[in-house]
């Protein structure tokens, strides 16, 4: 969303705004090139090997923070460790006789193919996630220290942090039960705040926000996998019996129900994955689309509408950011509860 700020600044400075975005892509620098909204949105919501701070002059000039590029070449067995700034203007890099390149989706290629290389670079999303994690640690470790210093009495911001923590802790207590819930509270707390803080950072329309980590399917996927693992590592024996024998269903129905139950095991975390991914990415797409209206219609007349609608959607996104984190946490707690509190049915 840093683009939005750049856009607005650009509008204020000049009305030559038509091809602001397309310039960042590897397309020919045609002055009157048509504004490609799909490319703009795609560029924003997907990952990148450099962290854009500011861009101006139609995206020709920009301040970027170079990020480490780390990859394993599956063909040669070599590791590539470098900075994204070491790629030349054509976005290529020669190393050990291999040509590495960043394509116009900012994906790493080796000898022209993305399948030749396993990319585990510290990309914009990773950097954003690390930054969010540091904020998260500072907030809650700071709160813990502050409360300890005050002799166990929360004061000021620490009280707010503790209030939020208690809010999430109550989810665990309500869903799983006070006794058994205590074991999962740290996981659920971390889950909620990790998602929420990343959502908020993603909503920041300028550096160092604007990345779309919590709307990335890799991020939501791995969190869903963690929920799945926690659910099934701590599941009791009744849960497994119920899943694989479906005790209170008559004979022939079992043939249908058992595969369904087994599918359910995987569908549950899958819905978590899709819900968070779709909501956050969808929100980002709507906001950018609304601001892109100005450039699609090529008139500043639509700007007030864009800004007002954008503001509305942005506010909604702030709410959704918390809501989606809450839903993910509540459902995770529910799934864990179903597995941990399963009891034998007659």
């Amino acid at each position: 969303m840093s683009r939005i700020v750049i856009l607005l600044t650009a509008i204020a400075m000049s009305l030559q705004t038509t091809n602001l975005f397309a310039q960042t892509e590897q397309t020919p620098a045609d002055e009157q090139e048509k504004f490609n909204v799909v490319e703009t949105i795609s560029h924003h919501i997907s990952d990148s090997h450099h962290w854009n701070v500011l861009a101006w002059d139609g995206g020709k000039k920009s301040i970027d923070i170079p990020l480490p590029v780390m990859a394993y070449n599956t063909q040669t067995g070599d590791f590539l460790f470098t900075l994204s700034s070491s790629f030349d203007d054509g976005k290529t890099l020669q190393k050990n006789g291999v040509t590495y390149a960043l394509d116009h989706h900012d994906k790493l290629l080796a000898d022209g193919s993305r399948h030749n290389v396993f990319d585990f670079s510290l990309t914009r999303n990773v950097a954003s996630g690390l930054m969010t994690s540091v904020i998260l640690l500072l907030v809650f470790c700071g709160a813990a220290r502050s409360i300890r210093k005050n002799g166990g009495i929360p004061k000021g911001a620490a009280g707010a942090a503790e209030y939020l923590m208690v809010f999430v802790k109550d989810i665990a207590d309500e869903q799983i039960g006070k006794e058994k819930g205590a074991r999962f509270t740290p996981f659920l707390l971390t889950l909620f705040f990790f998602i929420w803080f990343n959502n908020l950072v993603g909503l920041l329309p300028f550096f160092p926000g604007s990345s779309n980590l919590s709307g990335n399917i890799a991020f939501t996927g791995i969190l869903a996998v963690f929920t799945f693992l926690v659910t099934h590592i701590f599941a009791n024996k009744h849960y497994w019996i119920e899943t694989f024998t479906v005790p209170n269903v008559p004979g022939i129905m079992k043939l249908i129900m058992i595969p369904l139950e087994i599918l359910t095991m995987f569908i549950r975390p899958f819905t978590l994955l899709v819900r968070l991914f779709a909501n956050i990415t969808g929100g980002h797409i709507i906001v950018i689309s609304l601001f892109s209206l100005i450039f699609i219609l090529n008139t500043i007349g639509i700007a007030p509408v864009s800004v007002l609608l954008g503001l509305l959607v942005f506010t909604l996104e702030l709410i959704f950011g918390a809501l989606q984190a809450y839903i993910f946490t509540v459902l995770s707690a529910l799934y864990i509860s179903l597995a941990v509190n399963a009891s034998a049915e007659e």
Binding site: V126, G129, C141, A143, P186, I222
Partner: protein, 165 residues
């Protein structure tokens, strides 16, 4: 927009790793202390409430005890006063009775003394009356009653005869 639905393995690894590290650090340095302090505070509040309740009960018990002791001491005081009064009454009664007895005895003694004195006096009087009567009678009859023996015998004879009772 292709690739949006295919998770990047690199990002999967980094996200997972970040989450796990954050989970570990937050659990150790934030959640455990925060939840611990929360629990401590909850326990402290509930134990304080319990203590307040106990103190109230203790106060009520002491109050009851105090009242009981007060009532007991009051009863004891009443009993002591009653007893003392009874003793005093008894002593007064006793003293009265004794003094009465003493007085009775003295009166009795006095009466006996008077009785004795009276008897003696009457005896004496009778004697003198008899002597006088005999002298008068002797003079009158001028017989050989001049001898003392004859007089005495006569007096005795008369005394025997005359009963003054």
């Amino acid at each position: 927009m292709e690739g949006l639905l295919t998770p990047e393995p690199g990002l999967v690894i980094w996200s997972g790793l970040t989450f796990l590290v954050v989970l570990a650090l937050l659990t150790k340095f934030a959640w455990k202390p925060l939840l611990g302090m929360l629990k401590e505070r909850e326990d402290e509040i509930s134990s304080s409430l319990q203590k307040a309740k106990e103190a109230k009960q203790e106060y009520q018990r002491l109050e009851a005890q105090k009242n009981q002791i007060l009532a007991e001491s009051r009863a004891e005081r009443d009993a002591i006063i009653k007893e003392a009064r009874a003793k005093v009454d008894a002593m007064i009664e006793d003293a009265k009775a004794r003094s009465q007895q003493e007085a009775d005895k003295l009166i009795e003694q006095a009466r006996a003394q008077i009785e004795r004195e009276k008897a003696g006096a009457i005896d004496d009087l009778k004697r003198q009356v008899a002597t006088l009567s005999v002298q008068i009678a002797g003079k009158l009859i001028e017989t050989n009653l001049n001898t003392d023996n004859g007089q005495e015998a006569l007096i005795e004879k008369y005394l025997q005869e005359s009963n003054f009772n």
